[in-house]
Symmetry: D2
Subunit: 354 residues, 4 copies
């Protein structure tokens, strides 16, 4: 770390900072500039250095080391992690395409959707049983009934499953039903929930907070991993900006950058990022071209009748077409996208334009 | 609500939207423009109208009514609410000045701070026993030991107390020790926690989320109030913007606007908003001049040795001087600030410049 | 447009708004809701309706029609425009890859770069002769000498050229030297400059402002087109957000959305958007996969010695490899990328992995 | 400056950076940490150090010195500057209240407004003759006719005047008519315009850009001052954030911070910042309480009929009442606000509540 001293710092103040650094186990190197003195502190211990900011004469502290350790690229020996969850592996050569409706609404709706996304080539089924909603008056999810339907759909299709948890209660209820526990954007800094999913030992899908920096997102993953659970998949889902035309602004450069900074796999949710069905396919293609390890896409068999997020849900046919485009882009990236069956397999053999 | 139809909408699509509106209990008024058709929907029921967005031919839905009801200005009959919490009332003529250290660190530290802020004129004592921290490796609070010290300080000084809760566990533990339960910025959309503090029946200090819109903030208050608890004080604490020179950007216009939109009292936290001791007093004065009902200020008897947030904590003497300035500005606003005792009372009698 | 009236509006106020609307040439349709009255105004004239907001009893005005006309998708009869500039056409099946150094620095540097980007497959050469810099103490460009070198490089390579103009003086000087006049992000709302490039009749590359909404960006294009010049290419170059890890946040969803809203071609500048060489190739691939019509990429033959923006400039070999990846993604999109010559043509024939 | 090297840096790369620093006139101090090497560079010359970022093995450059010199607090010997403009001085004990309509619309409108703001206590008259508008179809200002009316109003009332310039042409036309040249938010980084007002030698009101950081704002002032003109008044007018309820977010902490960083006076424009008449008076009071040196306020004698910005213009009576409140807050700050004449003088003598 580098400690920058005030323009008018006194020798006594410099001495106090130096002593404090040495107490904390650092070696202090003094550099006297023309108008400023800075102190370089060398040491390996992870310490809470905020106290230093308060010493008289200190203008600012510039950290050199990253605050996260376990999730850093270096900790992964420079290679990416592969996270196993039920029948799938995320972060390997096969892209993880998670698809399904925003919420589990009914047995018929959900099983229909499950079979449709399976046929189109998805390998993981999504569906919310606990819905955190902005208004207390909106539909809040089917809870355990929804989880039972998720498990039934998984048994019928062989798909892995992912569903959101919002507190200890929903986590306890979900752990025996689903393969991947999702922590939503609004809970990214609900540290108690992060610790709880960390202790669960299950695979975790950690969405980026609406206005979380990349560093805060990785620190949230560090909370989970510091409980001994490294089965973490990050999910970029758009950040809040001044632009009103899209629900959020999808930050694809974050995907490429996180691949440089961390060993964890990263997927993209183009549905919540844009809130606009027309933009979901272009952003899905772009995410794979940017190096994402997968996608989380809302698909509904009848979007105009969806109980939530219908305006951003793909129609089954749009999703099937997208899967073929993704397969072509995945090849450019040296990867594969989706397991094709039925009509999509025939289309795939016939080529994208078929 | 107004439903704007696509440029190329068909008569059949218009018919379908009209029928759906009528099913939902609205009257539909068709307005055919030169290039667009819009449908005005008249009705009083609060309904989840998102489904309409998904109907073919609908371009967008423009809500006319606000989504919050119980917390709206109209629900307060146009007057502001006064929230009682232990020995104090927030929202009345007397400004609520909440002061104290970021975290309860030790008996000596905390009792010293409590007496200092009391002498300077504060009426409510703050101190964190459960600290949600960005890093899992940072100090996380003294938990129950901290709550005991809060209660002891309150008993010695007669001050009311406020402290943060972060989950059901900390809420259960805190309810018998403190007068006001604080919900922090990172938990503003932790809906389960909102419902829990709503059911607690205790006064709640609800901080605005880092990137929460004013409408989302009021909807979070609506969650609490829909559980039957109207003892809510809102707290503006800075929002996240592109500006790197301050920790956050204090949004004082939100304070004035919320006073127009809601009957709830609003206070301001200049310490977290700025992260910079030099800006705390100016922003405190500005908040009161803007019409805030109070302040939440970090004061530490020895900021350079604080375990958290020392760089933004006022020295006791700075705080005492600020209280006198606030008193003068409060008079312009037709209010009073603080209960003066000891030296500050003498200073106060002698005039601000004394 | 829809005029929403206050909760407590009087009949007289409603009458005044209705009369004013009729004066302005609109038909007024009154809709009396349970708690609100709204007035639908039907008419085709583009009028400045801000005055209505100020009438007593009016809460807000909701525009239904878009404020831009000439640049809208509808004005292009639903098809995209193709902009011709010197030897190239932008917006057609061939992607427009503009590449070269940030600034023209010297004859040797610039001609070297020109030949390198030509060999890799670029069709347009970029190079700044007038550099708008944040600091008055930074290198400001070679001005006319730089323009001469641009023209010389174009003559040697057959590439089209693009260079930034910053005022009437630089525009007058540039118009005979370059094919495309660039309006930079900081000048996106320099309305006098927009009018001047509009009157020039030359092709214009209009960068999105650092914090411009998509609507403001299209309105800036409308300024140019309202001077009779429709040869406009839009360029997304990242927006300013709270995220500090990248210079800006590349908003690729804006590209897809603008293609829905306007007939103008849109390209992407991944170099300024990210400010980080490691992210330029992933974001270039993503842009093409999202449907962009081209790219603007900084390439320097010796980035560590560049006078500006070296940390975001690709090495020639990185750029050559990127062109091959783009060609593969372009095929998925039904387009072609680049004209390959020399070594890259051989590599291309051998396949991307060759 | 501190140069942080990559984790895997080689000795050769360290040597190259060290040599380059010494070539540039710096002394290099090597600090070898446990996982990183950093190089402290000592020297007083202001150099463009961007080139260093491109050297192999360099991760990042951390500047220690501020990039602005002439406008820094230190350059003012720690004291604030007082800017003289016609009959007024800005930055001294008397607050500068600039008031008047958004645009000069007609002789009657403008002279009426001028007398009204004079009577209420304003000392500077504002009025736009050149209006930069988002739409090419909106009212663009009366140009020279407007300037003549400004001069006539000044002659009748004795008020100083301020008006916006948007290019060399409007600057040349304005310089003989007005006391203060305003550079608008959208032109804050129109560097040619900054240089031109710098060369004009006239007092300049420099608005902060919509998304300009404080450092960029001060660098824009540095552009003006580096042309030899130190008569600069800064104006905070709200920044662009995610919050849609107000037009912009007024950043009052920027005012207090700029007073720490620079010797230039700073005023606040609450009208453009909020876009909402109800918020203008609270934000005006807050600005003065935060330490601002003045205000720029839109006042119109008949806001519902204003040609621009009527919804944010104060009625004359609201403005007169605000001036009295400001006077009371100014006294707390040890300053005075406004020159009272006529009815406001009588009200003032009778006390704020009179």
């Amino acid at each position: 770390m580098v400690v920058v001293m005030d323009v008018n710092v006194s020798e006594e103040q410099i001495g106090e900072v130096t002593s404090r650094l040495e107490e904390m186990g650092f070696q202090a190197h003094l550099i006297r500039g023309v108008s400023r003195t800075v102190i370089g502190a060398v040491g390996s211990r992870a310490v809470d250095t905020l106290g230093l900011k308060n010493l008289p004469g200190v203008e600012k502290i510039i950290p050199i080391m990253k605050p996260y350790k376990l999730v850093s690229r270096e900790a992964g020996d420079g290679a990416g992690s592969v996270v196993e969850a039920g029948p799938v592996a995320i972060g390997g050569p096969e892209l993880a395409v998670m698809a399904g409706p925003c919420a589990v609404e009914s047995r018929e709706q959900f099983l229909t959707a499950a079979h449709l996304v399976k046929q189109a080539g998805a390998t993981i089924l999504r569906g919310g049983a606990f819905k955190p909603r902005t208004s207390p008056y909106s539909f809040q999810g089917l809870e355990e009934k929804g989880l039972e339907l998720l498990a039934e759909a998984a048994a019928q299709t062989g798909l892995a499953t992912v569903s959101e948890v919002i507190d200890q209660y929903s986590l306890d209820m979900s752990r025996d039903y689903v393969d991947i526990l999702q922590v939503g954007a609004r809970n990214m800094q609900n540290f108690r929930l992060l610790q709880a999913v960390g202790r669960s030992g299950k695979a975790v899908l950690l969405k980026r907070g609406l206005s979380a920096t990349i560093e805060e997102w990785l620190m949230a993953a560090e909370y989970i991993m510091s409980e001994g659970n490294g089965k973490i998949v990050l999910c970029e889902r758009g950040i809040r900006t001044f632009e009103p035309s899209t629900r959020n602004t999808l930050d694809l450069s974050a995907v490429s950058l996180v691949k440089c900074l961390s060993h964890l796999p990263v997927i993209v949710d183009p549905s919540h990022a844009t809130g606009d069905r027309r933009l979901v396919s272009p952003m899905s293609r772009a995410a794979i071209a940017a190096g994402a390890d997968g996608l989380l896409i809302e698909v509904h068999h009848d979007p105009p009748r969806a109980l939530c997020d219908g305006q951003q849900s793909l129609y089954p046919d749009e999703f099937a077409r997208l899967m073929l485009e993704l397969q072509a882009i995945a090849m450019v990236m040296g990867r594969v996208a989706g397991k094709f069956t039925g009509q999509n397999a025939r289309r795939f053999v016939a080529g994208v334009s078929g």
